[in-house]
Symmetry: C2
Amino acid sequence: MTSARSRKSGRARDERPERGIPEATVARLPVYLRALTTLSDSDVATASSEDLATAAGVNSAKLRKDLSYLGTYGTRGVGYDVNYLRYQIAREIGLTQDWSVVIVGIGNLGHALANYSGFASRGFQVAALFDVDPERVGEVVGDLKISALADLEVIVRESAVAIGVIATPAGAAQGVCDQLVEAGVSSILNFAPAVLTVPGHVDVRKVDLSIELQILAYHEQRKAHGFGALEAGAL
Amino acid sequence: MTSARSRKSGRARDERPERGIPEATVARLPVYLRALTTLSDSDVATASSEDLATAAGVNSAKLRKDLSYLGTYGTRGVGYDVNYLRYQIAREIGLTQDWSVVIVGIGNLGHALANYSGFASRGFQVAALFDVDPERVGEVVGDLKISALADLEVIVRESAVAIGVIATPAGAAQGVCDQLVEAGVSSILNFAPAVLTVPGHVDVRKVDLSIELQILAYHEQRKAHGFGALEAGAL
DNA sequence: CATTGTGAAGTGATTCACAGCA
DNA sequence: TGCTGTGAATCACTTCACAATG
């Protein structure tokens, strides 16, 4: 089969770039954004790709390639205007608007998430908290009262919630996920150690603490066994 | 006498394959392990690559390729013995031993991590908790007392801690990281929204909640705008 | 002339498709 | 026969290296 999906340039230069940003690039844009914010807070007006790359912890070629997918925002011989680029990336990610999120499962982790200030400061409003346990419903966490899952649909609609965070035990995750999807949520951040099944239009990202530790353990074990730990080489 | 540096593929060229497991595969092994544990708990004795792949949320070709890096543990025409494969993967990851971890930064998230039962159940012992705030030192969380950072080195040595978890604010992260590395920790799981600089022998993995939300927001925005629809307003 | 933006080359991961074996 | 294990093909991402340019 040769249905050429060639999306070669051939694009007028007054048009905005094709919306085909590689996933790996998308995952780094928030990192660049944070680096730019830090620089901006230090009153740095202009930064080269080298400066930015260092601040973001990547190499400069990758950074330039990544930015090239968004458009032509640099100045040859000079670098990037920090605030201008910051705005462009924020817009690309969709941070020029606010996002409402709900958190389901207000145990240890749910509490921490509900109180996490990093959400609000980046344009994510926690619209509501939910728990299956009727004991917990009504409890106040931060400035929100925990709601019953039965109210999910109404709240999702009223607050135009697009993103749901699942912080339940593994066993409850799929059920909660189904309810979120049913209520109209189309992006899910899953902290439960479970594989979620969702319809095609729903995006799921997984954060799994014990998996991260296990990956570290694997490498740790190899170091201990004495295989020359020659990581991504010098030279 | 023996040059400690050049221990390449030295003496371990016995029966097992060269230990060059791709990073992407390593990251999935814990997922397979969990799927196998679930199957084992349901008294499933044998599973095909198709069954396993479904349980793990990947496709079967990828799963078979991944497992082929570990060795030849399946039976053609039959599938995999669940418990046998489970043990092989656990051994490969290094979970046949226990790992001591320390958590630094006992705020909201640190508390949640300290109480997270998923660590212990997978062979990760929390050996100690630390906080820079002297007010917090001595406070009891779970069954541990928060220690002062000054005691880090002693505790790391005594408990043979290999893995450190950083759950501090961004501003404190690099300093804490340096202290962990100085104390002898060589794997770090970083929850602080900061880029860490470490010596080459130290492994860092990052978990960043707000980055995950931003990635979801990007895709969410794309869905909302429809794929061809271009907003006006770019130069 | 310092630095961007980008084709081209290089590297790594995924998927295909089927040979080989229980 | 059914299913694994794996070369070969494909796809995705990274890095190189340099022409274009403010």
